[in-house]
Symmetry: C2
Subunit: 240 residues, 2 copies
C-alpha cells in the first residue's frame, strides 16, 4: 500500500471532505444509511480507525448519528452549520434565497479595535479590509453586516466580487483559510435610524445583534464581524 504524500492532507480529512460533500450534495439524503465502516475502508483504501476519525468529525458537526449495531444515519445537511455554530450567514439560510448588496465595497482602513474585541499590535499595524453588506432573504432585508479582516497576505482580495458569494467560501478556496471556531456576543437592541432605513422598519423595532471574533486555520488570523438581524420573519436557526 503506497503512502499518501502528494498533498500532505491527512487521509481522514480527505474521507471527511468526501463524505461531507456527499451529504451536502444530496448523494446521501436525510435518514439514509451511510455505508458501513468496513465498506468505507475498502472503498477509500484506509483502515477503520481512519474512517472512524472522519465519522467522528461528521458526528460532532451533526451531519450523522451513529447507532451501535445498526449503522451511521445521515441527519441533515444545511442545518448542521447554522449561523450560531460555525460559519457565516450564507450557510444559515441556504444560498438559493440569499442575495447580497454591497453597501461599502472592500476598502483598506485603519482600526484600533474590532467592535468590542481588542486587537493585537500586529493587527492594528496591518490595517483591515472593511466591508458592509446588506443581505436579503427572498427579497427582504434580513441581515446587515460589517466585516473586518486583517490586511495581511491576501493578494487581490479587495478587487474580488463579493456579490452573492460566501466570504468564507472565498477564503477557503482562494486563500486556504478555514474557519475553526470563534467567540461571539449576542444582544437585543432597538433599531437606530440607519437600521430603520436598511430594514424598512418603524420606531422601536427590536434587532438582534451579533459580535463575532472568528478563528481560522491560519494562526493569529481572526475575522471580525458584526451582524444585525431583523428576526421578524426569519429567526436565526442553528444546531449545537
Amino acid at each position: 500500500m503506497l503512502k499518501q504524500q502528494e498533498t500532505s492532507i491527512p487521509q481522514h480529512r480527505k474521507v471527511y471532505e468526501i463524505l461531507r460533500s456527499h451529504i451536502t450534495g444530496g448523494v446521501f439524503g436525510e435518514g439514509d444509511f451511510l455505508p458501513s465502516e468496513n465498506e468505507l475502508c475498502t472503498v477509500h483504501h484506509v483502515t477503520r480507525p481512519t474512517i472512524r476519525k472522519a465519522l467522528d468529525r461528521l458526528t460532532n458537526e451533526g451531519y450523522i448519528v451513529r447507532h451501535q449495531g445498526k449503522g451511521s444515519i445521515v441527519k441533515g445537511s444545511p442545518k448542521g452549520v447554522g449561523i450560531l455554530s460555525m460559519t457565516g450567514t450564507t450557510s444559515a439560510i441556504g444560498q438559493d434565497n440569499l442575495t447580497t448588496t454591497i453597501i461599502i465595497k472592500p476598502e483598506i482602513r485603519t482600526w484600533n479595535q474590532a467592535f468590542t474585541f481588542p486587537l493585537t499590535k500586529a493587527e492594528i499595524e496591518s490595517g483591515c479590509v472593511y466591508i458592509e453588506r446588506l443581505r436579503l432573504v427572498n427579497g427582504k432585508p434580513v441581515f446587515y453586516d460589517i466585516t473586518m479582516i486583517p490586511n495581511v497576505n491576501l493578494p487581490r482580495f479587495t478587487s474580488r466580487n463579493f456579490e452573492n458569494k460566501s466570504l468564507f467560501d472565498i477564503l477557503r478556496k482562494h486563500y486556504h483559510i478555514e474557519v475553526r471556531g470563534g467567540e461571539q456576543q449576542l444582544l437585543a437592541i432597538v433599531a437606530d435610524e440607519k437600521m430603520k432605513g436598511y430594514f424598512n422598519v418603524g420606531q422601536g423595532h427590536p434587532i438582534l445583534q451579533l459580535n463575532r471574533k472568528i478563528e481560522t486555520s491560519r494562526a493569529g488570523f481572526y475575522i471580525y464581524s458584526q451582524v444585525f438581524c431583523n428576526t421578524d420573519e426569519y429567526v436565526l436557526y442553528g444546531t449545537f
Copy 2:
C-alpha cells in the same frame, strides 16, 4: 494489566471527565500546559490513542488547544461551554453570580407542542414536567426561562430542589442523562407586560428570545426550553 469492567464506562471517557474537572476546578488554569500525552498515559494507565480520544473531546469542546511539537494548552473553563454552544444558563455566566427564583415549581402538565417544536405521540402521551424560573446575575434579573421535560422515568424529579442548581447537572448526576447537542432559534422581541414586570424594564424594551430543543444521551429524550434574556448589562457570550 487488568481489564476495565467494574462500571462499563470507557477509559477515554473517564480520562476526559478527570481532565475536564481539573480544568473547570482550577487545577489547570488558562494558559497552563497539560501534561504530555505520554505522561498522561503512565498516570492513567492507558495508551496514547485512548488519551488522544479524551483530548480530542476536550479540544472539540474548547477546553484546550493543541500545538504540534509544543503541547496542549488550557484555553478556558467556563466560556468553553457558553449558552450558545452547549448546555444551559449556568455554565454561560458562572455559577457564582447566578441565583435562581422558581416562578412555577416543577409540575406535571399535558402538552401538545413545545414552543415552536412539534412533539412525537409518545412525548404527548407521557406529559411533561413544567418549570418556570427567573434567574438573576449579581442580583439583577437577566434570564426568564420555561423548561419542559418529558415525564418519563424520572423518579422523584418534581420533588427535587432546583434553587441555584443547574438542571443539566441534576440530570447528569442523578439520572445519567447527558446533553449531546440540539437546535435552537433566536429572535429579538419587545418585552410584553409579563417580561416588563420580571425584568423591571419599560415599554418597548428589546428582549432576546431563545427556543431550544436539546438532545440528550437517552435516545428520543429531548428537553425543550424557552429563554428570555435582558441583554442590557449582560450580553450572551459563547464560543463555537
